[in-house]
């Protein structure tokens, strides 16, 4: 899967929060949603998904509930908590600052230094 980008450390949590902010999802759904909205550019290692979900739930940023999936199977759905909404907002802002800073650095030319 050479075409997909590697994740920066710490960004997985942010992506999961964003994914479930768009609507309750089960674990596999989170994976699909991230793939879908990143146009399959970001690929999540499946093995690290669940530990991340459990960690976020433990921190109280997401909460879970058993429900029924599209194809009528019992599945655990995750949704964002109020705390999670706040965190996502903060992370998004920080990410913006970070991304533009990195972009500035990378676009710098010798004259500007």
């Amino acid at each position: 899967m050479g075409k997909s980008a590697d994740l920066l450390p710490g960004t997985l949590d942010m992506l999961i929060l964003k994914a479930v902010s768009l609507g309750p999802l089960h674990g596999y759904g989170v994976l699909l949603r991230i793939g879908q909205i990143s146009k399959n550019l970001l690929d999540i290692e499946q093995g690290s998904l669940y530990p991340a979900l459990y960690r976020l739930e433990h921190q109280g940023l997401i909460e879970s509930e058993w429900g029924t999936s599209d194809n009528n199977r019992r599945a655990k759905f995750y949704r964002l908590t109020a705390e999670g909404v706040r965190r996502l907002r903060a992370e998004t802002r920080q990410w913006g600052v970070f991304a533009s800073a990195v972009a500035n650095v990378l676009s710098a030319t010798p004259e500007e230094v």
Partner: protein
């Protein structure tokens, strides 16, 4: 964060739920992924492979999930505990030794400290106990200092009338019985005499009624009484109308004015209180009152104490004070005053039990060191297999904790048992009247000390071992025939220290045991076999004249003597082994007439010296010729003769007793008998000077005062055995006066044991503690040698294969044990020489350098040390050289 806590606890306690959720969730994931793959045209087999690969190890992922819930730590802990329990069960000797050591040390310390807490630390069971005081006289001279808590009538009146910073009250010294008659039956009850306001000073109100008024507390006041709660419920069915009714106390009707609350107690037990009616004459002319006080609101201790001292100065004017002696009165906290006598004993016992704790901790440390030493290989193996150093340390820590917790739990049981045992004997043997309760603070404190010891010493070697080069450690057993010796030194020092401390305790215990034996085996000066005694209180309105008393004595003794099996009988105010009346006297003739500082006094009926077989050295005993009409006579004992009449012929001498100059002729000299002295600093038995006078020649006024403090004893010798003598006495007195109850019947041996009960208690307790210390030291030695044997099994095998005999090998292994014991003994001897000083006030009749005590302690220690060292080495003789060579 509460949410995380909830999540963690939820995960911890609903563990199975978490596991099944996790399982279902991940299975669904795999199924969905597999479906997607198949849908995109991949073969089912390939899809299954990819799904599996993509998902990685399911178990590792679950573990990560659990970890993110904070469960990893508790999982590891549970695993460690299981492993620790398994490991410990594989070495039961070590485990048992460690747990037992912990339990005994913590339990013993807790029990003893609980007594200290009850006596010295816990506030007295009265409101605002820190404002309660006791008025005492302090004596300072070059050779001695002392605290006297008894006061005379003048002092009491001065304090009552002029101590404006204090509310004062007084009680009569000593506890004598009193006769209480209800429904035609008489009983001997405990009585305490107190002034008006006594209970107000303590801050305790009667449950019904009131306490005595100043009017009732005057000489000649109306006969009134207060009764205790248990007497009220047992005898009067808790009837509140008892107040105002009349009960027959001390031979005359007393109006009950109040009932004290259940459990109320100040010092000794009391069923009945009567007004003290203090005076400055009679009883009040001597120091026979105890004075207590409560600081008035707003008053400080400094103010109160200096006021008492200033008032005391006035009292001391014109009093004869020995040269170079400073006397002053002061107010001290009541708790300090009440526990004064016990403090030394308790602190010595606490010191002893603390030593046991130190020995125990040293033992634990030694055991842990040994264990870690023999586990170096195991630890190295685990490290080699990938267990990180911290994992190994956590594992060892868990083991220490498991031992500590087991020991701690066992110690609570032992502590309770110890407290129960001590509670049973504390009042009789120590005079502890406060309730003894388990002291949790100490339990926790000692537990922390011992647990820390086990953890620190469990860890030190672990840290050392985990630093060990894995290859060296693993190959150690194979490459080196002789076990390393450098690492054995810390342990040897610990064991030597244990032995030293155990020796200190052994010598102390031996000295106290010798003290007890010396006192018990003192020549009594009389023959008490086949003699029964019992007291009757004559602090009774019907017997307040000499004539009435003599009629009672004569009639009852006649009846007793007429009983078959009775050889002889007599009445005496006091019996051997008990405290006698103190009396000043005068020499009226001889080369140096004048004051005799102090003697003891006893009145006796004819037949007394025969009944107790006290030898008459010269002259004649008191007999029927000595009546109230005849010439006043007395006998003195040899101690009196030696001290006060050595320059004159006793049988032509006259003395005066008390303040009187009326001549009393000395008619005979008797041998000394052991008494509990009323002066002379704490020695429990001695033979002070004594004067015997005929009971018939006692003045009625003197008798009245004396019978308040002392109940005369009927003494009967016979062949019929205890039961029949007791029955004869009871029948005889009942026939004379049915409302006159006897106190407890006792043999003179029992009286002696009662007098020596504290010495006995101290000897038993310290003996037990020393035995415990010895046992712990032996376990330490045993463990050390056993460990050496295990470590050196290979070396021993080689030696034996090369022709060494078992005896030679045993010698080589045991020698260090004996050497350590000897070194420890030497160190202990030096320590003991210093610490024995603390015991000096408890040792009588033996020197603190007593060869018997030191020798016995040393022999005891060496025998046990030799046994502790030899036992494990016998394993060598059973060893098969071929097998030991293979042993690693």
């Amino acid at each position: 964060m509460p949410h995380r806590m909830r999540s963690y606890l939820g995960a911890l306690f609903r563990r199975s739920r978490l596991e099944s959720d996790m399982d279902r969730e991940m299975r669904l994931h795999l199924e969905l992924y597999y479906d997607d793959l198949v849908r995109s045209g991949i073969s089912p087999d390939e899809a299954r492979r990819r799904a599996g690969a993509q998902f990685g190890s399911l178990e590792r992922m679950k573990e990560e999930c659990r970890e993110s819930r904070g469960l990893a730590w508790s999982d590891e802990f549970v695993r460690n505990v299981r492993y620790a329990v398994r490991t410990l069960r594989r070495s039961p000797a070590f485990t048992l030794a460690a747990i037992l050591t912990l339990a005994l040390c913590i339990g013993a310390n807790t029990a003893i400290f609980s007594v200290i807490d009850a006596v010295l630390l816990r506030p007295l069971p009265f409101p605002e106990p820190d404002r309660l005081a006791q008025i005492v006289t302090l004596y300072h001279s070059k050779s001695a200092e002392g605290v006297d808590d008894s006061q005379d009538g003048r002092t009491w009146e001065m304090l009552r009338d002029h101590a404006t910073f204090l509310d004062t009250a007084a009680s009569g010294g000593g506890w004598s019985g009193a006769n209480l008659a209800t429904g035609g039956r008489a009983r001997y009850v405990d009585e305490q005499r107190v002034t008006a306001g006594y209970f107000a000073v303590l801050g305790v109100r009667p449950v019904i009624g009131r306490e005595f008024t100043r009017e009732e507390d005057r000489p000649g006041g109306p006969p009134v009484a207060m009764i205790g709660h248990s007497l009220w419920t047992n005898l009067f069915a808790a009837d509140p109308s008892i107040v105002g009714r009349s009960i027959l106390v001390k031979g005359e009707p007393h109006t009950v004015v109040g009932v004290m609350p259940a459990g109320f107690r100040m010092l000794g037990p009391a069923d009945v209180w009567t007004p003290l009616r203090p005076t400055t004459t009679g009883e009040g002319s001597g120091t026979n009152y105890g004075v207590i006080a409560r600081l008035r609101p707003g008053t400080t201790w400094v103010q109160a104490a200096s006021q008492v001292e200033a008032l005391g100065q006035r009292l001391l004017e014109g009093k004869r004070i020995p040269p170079e002696t400073r006397v002053r009165y002061t107010a001290i906290p009541m708790q300090t005053g009440l526990s004064n006598e016990l403090r030394t004993t308790l602190l010595i016992i606490q010191g002893a039990v603390a030593l046991v704790l130190v020995i125990g901790c040293v033992n634990i440390a030694g055991l842990m060191l040994a264990r870690a030493g023999s586990r170096t290989r195991e630890i190295a193996t685990r490290a080699a297999l990938g267990g990180g150093r911290s994992v190994v340390i956590r594992q060892l820590l868990t083991e220490s904790l498991v031992i500590a917790i087991a020991g701690g739990l066992a110690s609570i049981g032992l502590g309770y048992a110890g407290i129960r045992a001590l509670s049973l004997v504390a009042e009789d043997s120590l005079g502890v009247w406060q309730n003894i309760r388990l002291d949790w603070r100490v339990l926790v404190a000692t537990m922390v000390v011992s647990v820390m010891t086990s953890i620190v010493f469990g860890l030190l070697p672990a840290v050392r071992a985990s630093r060990v080069d894995i290859r060296t450690a693993l190959s150690e057993g194979g490459a080196r025939g002789v076990a390393g010796s450098s690492s054995r030194w810390p342990r040897r020092l610990l064991v030597a220290g244990e032995v030293a401390l155990a020796f200190v305790l052994l010598v102390s215990a031996a000295l106290l045991i010798r003290t007890f034996i010396a006192l018990r085996d003192l020549s009594p000066g009389f023959d008490g076999t086949g003699v029964m005694t019992a007291a009757i209180s004559l602090d009774d309105a019907r017997y307040n004249t000499s004539a009435n008393m003599m009629r009672l004595f004569t009639n009852s003794l006649e009846r007793i003597r007429a009983t078959p099996g009775v050889e002889s009988a007599a009445v005496a105010l006091s019996i051997p082994y008990e405290r006698w009346l103190n009396m000043g006297a005068r020499r009226l003739d001889g080369p140096a007439p004048g004051r005799i500082p102090i003697t003891t006094l006893n009145y006796v009926t004819p037949g007394f010296f025969d009944t107790l077989r006290i030898p008459v050295r010269s002259g004649r005993p008191i007999d029927d010729r000595d009546t109230s009409e005849s010439r006043k006579v007395a006998m003195v004992n040899e101690a009196f003769l030696r001290r006060y009449l050595k320059d004159q012929d006793p049988l032509s001498s006259h003395i005066g007793l008390g303040g009187s100059d009326q001549p009393i002729a000395i008619i005979g000299v008797t041998g000394n008998v052991q008494q509990r002295p009323g002066w002379g600093g704490g020695i429990p038995l001695s033979t002070p000077p004594a004067v015997y006078v005929p009971a018939s020649q006692m003045e009625s006024e003197t008798l009245k005062v004396v019978h308040v403090w002392f109940s005369p004893h009927w003494i009967v010798r016979g062949t019929g055995g205890r039961e029949s003598l007791t029955a004869a006495m009871q029948r005889a007195v009942e026939a004379t006066d049915p409302l006159l109850p006897f106190s407890k019947f006792k043999t003179l041996d029992a009286v002696r044991d009662r007098t020596l009960i504290r010495q006995r208690f101290q000897a038993i307790l310290l003996g037990t503690l020393a035995g415990l210390a010895l046992l712990l030291a032996a376990v330490g030695l045993y463990g050390m040698i056993a460990n050496t044997v295990v470590e050196r099994t290979r070396e021993i095998g080689i030696r034996m294969a090369l022709g060494a005999t078992a005896a030679q090998v045993i010698r080589a292994v045991v020698a260090p044990g004996i050497l350590i014991a000897v070194v420890g003994l030497g160190t202990g001897a030096v320590l003991a020489a210093f610490s024995i000083r603390a015991l000096r006030s408890l040792i009588y009749g033996v020197e603190s350098s007593d060869a018997w005590s030191w020798g016995a302690a040393a022999i005891c220690l060496l025998v046990v040390a030799a046994a502790g060292s030899l036992l494990p080495s016998f394993r060598i003789t059973r060893a098969n050289p071929a097998a030991t060579l293979r042993y690693d």
